[in-house]
């Protein structure tokens, strides 16, 4: 059973309001019938209704279930229960699971088995009409290629008029282009176009970032035009970038990679339309990176995921591609580890880590960010900017969000100015620290509710 810390629990919170409400319930006085077994903890919390809410937590994954009507996940009761557990596990009595807890856990286990069984069954019967299906696929390909052609024209026109003109153009223009890409069934291109709008407004140095972005989009469009001549794995990467979806079933049906996976870090990003959660896993045996992506539209809750800094024995199914990285969890069991990453699996120098990044880029030039797991990093301040420095003296600049304010001070305080082991996301320009590891513990540095 893993040992939860307050920081790890707060990192699970979907937003700051939930974290604050959870803190309000983080006292055992607010709870009754607190209990735990090897796999779960539970308790009753009196809300505004007549009956107290039944809150239960799967201890391995930190997944919560509560009878309250909240649409947030985890809800404040789940967070509160975990916070009490992090604070003082002793107040939970080790007893037999009551029915409402056991049923839920068994249901989860059954669903997980079903998923495995489903993945292991041979693919469905061929559709009734392969000809019709092939025709539909050809129609979509034709539409996407129209989209690619339209995007090429737009891009050329943009460069002809100049980026300065694009910056002052009406706001709606890029959104209209993006909408056309969605209509052309190439939502991936729509994302690239919308990102252009963000970069045009990204402040100092925007023109370099924008041109770099457009250069990569250009590379994607050229690759799309020659899709038939590309090797299959690269075709898969290009198709993914264009926005072709792979069905989860197909991915799960592919070969899996078994390992003890460490969830080293997690970050949640919000924009107007979509909330995205990235969880980076590192295989202990395979030394392989895997990325779990979860999405939720608008303000809807994210699906339950793997808590940062947990360890699990799992078979992961990777999406096909030149650089298989995005993955789905096929079957998992908590490994029972404490989630500590041995510094030995981290790179010893920035040079070494960047070499891995260059290799990754060679396989897939469109990757947006890549994890760097580095040992013995120290913080440095030069030219009014904050950097992470390795023992050899090489440095990477920290991302704007970590140049000031609570994220910077928290990182600084936790490191105490000494060498530390850090997981960062690198986008080619700046580094976003996700998790700090020391001898005893790990500290999430980003998350819904961290100060």
């Amino acid at each position: 059973m893993r040992d939860w810390t307050t920081d790890q629990v707060l990192a699970l919170a979907p937003d700051a309001a939930s974290a604050s409400a959870g803190q309000g319930l983080a006292s055992e006085k607010k709870w009754s019938s607190l209990g735990r077994s090897d796999r779960a903890a539970w308790g009753l919390c009196q809300g505004s209704g007549k009956d107290p809410y039944q809150t239960r937590v799967d201890l391995a994954e930190g997944t919560c279930k509560c009878s309250c009507p909240s649409r947030k996940f985890p809800c404040k009761h789940g967070l509160g229960l975990l916070l009490v557990l992090a604070k003082n596990a002793g107040v939970f009595k080790q007893i037999a699971e009551p029915g409402w807890v056991a049923e839920w856990l068994d249901g989860r286990a059954a669903r997980a088995e079903k998923a495995v069984a489903k993945a292991n069954t041979p693919p469905r019967e061929a559709p009734a009409d392969p000809a019709a299906q092939a025709k539909r696929a050809a129609q979509r390909d034709a539409r996407v290629m129209d989209g690619v052609a339209g995007c090429c024209l737009w891009l050329e026109d943009l460069l002809r008029r100049g980026l300065a003109a694009a910056q002052t153009a009406a706001d709606g223009e890029l959104e209209r282009v993006a909408a056309r890409m969605v209509d052309a069934q190439a939502p991936g291109l729509a994302v690239w176009v919308r990102r252009t709008a963000e970069l045009l407004a990204s402040g100092d140095g925007w023109e370099v970032r924008t041109l770099d972005h457009l250069g990569r989009l250009h590379l994607l469009l050229k690759a799309a035009e020659r899709l038939a001549q590309l090797p299959p794995d690269l075709t898969a990467e290009v198709r993914t970038a264009l926005g072709y979806n792979q069905s989860k079933d197909d991915v799960l049906a592919g070969p899996g990679v078994s390992d003890r996976w460490l969830a080293l870090g997690q970050i949640i990003e919000d924009d107007d339309r979509l909330r995205t959660r990235r969880t980076w896993l590192l295989g202990r045996r395979t030394a392989r990176w895997a990325l779990l992506l979860d999405f939720a539209p608008g303000s809807a809750p994210l699906p339950a995921g793997i808590a940062p800094a947990t360890e699990l024995t799992a078979e992961l199914a990777f999406y096909p591609g030149n650089l298989p990285c995005r993955a789905l969890v096929n079957s998992a069991q908590p490994a029972g580890g404490t989630g500590l990453a041995p510094a030995s699996s981290a790179d010893q120098s920035i040079e070494q880590a960047l070499a891995r990044y260059a290799n990754a880029l060679a396989a897939n030039p469109w990757i947006a960010r890549w994890p760097l797991f580095l040992n013995s990093l120290q913080l440095a301040n030069a030219g009014n900017r904050w950097w992470i420095a390795d023992p050899a003296g090489d440095t990477l600049p920290l991302a704007p969000a970590f140049q000031a304010g609570p994220p910077l001070w928290r990182l600084l305080a936790a490191s105490e100015g000494r060498p530390m082991c850090l997981l960062v996301e690198w986008d080619g320009f700046t580094a976003v620290p996700l998790t700090l590891f020391d001898d005893q513990a790990c500290l999430p540095l980003t998350g819904g509710a961290l100060p």
Binding site: A86, R216, A380
Partner: protein
Amino acid sequence: MTTSPPTPTLRLRQLAVAALLGTDRGGIAEASPQRLLDAAALAGAQARAGFKPRRVADRVPPCPTDTTPIAPRAAMATLQRMLTRPDPLLIEEWAELAQARGVRVAPAVVPALLAWWSTQPRRSPRIFAACGKTGPWLASLNPAWQRPVATETIPDDADALWGTGTPPERLALLRTVRAMAPARALAMVQSTWASDGAAERQSFVKELAVNCTADDEPFLESTLDERSRGVRHAAVGVLAGLPDSRFRQRMTDRLRAMIIVQGRAKRLIGKAAFTLEPPKALDPTWLRDGFDDKAGEAKGRRATWLQHTVAHAHRSVWLETTGLSASAVVAALAKDDYAQAALAGLFQSVMALPDPQWAAALVDHALDQKRIDVDSLSDLIAGVPQELAEQLALRCLKHASMPPADRWVLAAAVQHRWSTAFAAAAIPTLAAPVAANRSADRVSTVFAELSWIVPPQTAEPLIQALHAALDGEDNAFIRESISRLQLRSEMYKEFAT
């Protein structure tokens, strides 16, 4: 001479300048959008894949090693929880417990604590100390946290600042210096006295009440001759707290003259042992000692003068002149024509320089009245040192006819953290049910005050007493007070483990 090709990063920047203007402008090597995009894609990929990390030597100096252990995990969790809705008193208590236990705040939580602490009007040094060595180290890196730390010592340029600062700056400086070096503060005030205005003089004199000793007396005595009434009154207030001042001696002599002791014969026929006779007209030389010659009617004026005299005279004069005990003096005063003024003066006198005998005499007298003056009693209790305050409060709480709601008020007048002995004796007296709605409101307000100051070990009995007093009445305000008290009691246990 050959020039080496530009690095990919530089190349990307050059292309970005071209892209800014657009290829329609002409005059650039990449004349078509296609060529410009090809070049950008190549330079971008090269720049990313061949990223050359910069060499930066300026590492952050490491935080000095702190061997103080980190606070227990549960206590750290409570601190983090409190910081989501910070309550200065509770955080202060957390720091106090941490200090007593010899532990400190976990480094990762220090920024959140300092961010809150540095914006507080009153910044407790104890909270800063609880951050261990991480506190000063982080503050040295964050300019926003430096200033609050620095105000805890006398600045190097104190004398210059005293000469040129704005009135609020000078007052803050005087406060700091007076607390740490009283004589230097006196010298500062004297150095600019001639050029300071009446309002400033008055505020400076008031500050001298802190750490006041006989060394300050000559200067304070001289300020009694100031033209400004405000300055004179401020000086009277400070001198009243100096037990052996010449001011108090003068007041004692005046009081002695006002006490008219009756001869044996009159006493035998049942007359009072003494009567009070304030002067009919004010001696102009008395004005400098804070007497007022304008206030009220003739009779009212005389009462005011009497009260002012009683408040600042040595109380021993009563015993010397009358030969009575303190409680007998109070009993006799209660029958005098000037009873009200004299007793009010005595209350003031005891609050300024408390002693158990006189305080007990006044409390007993007040408790004997038909209508007990709870406000005066609670002022008196609040104005004396804790041990005496607890004695007096217990006297009141155990008084049979004390209304239940007033018991809560008097218990809360012991403003310091209750001793365990007092808590044990006081809490059972509070459990009696209170009557009307207004009393219940009063009790819940008092309970809110108590929730910050009672010893956390007594949380449960006090909560039970509250439920008994309010007959189980419940509202959000009461619940909040109860959970505050429970939080403190949990915090206490968390540090004890």
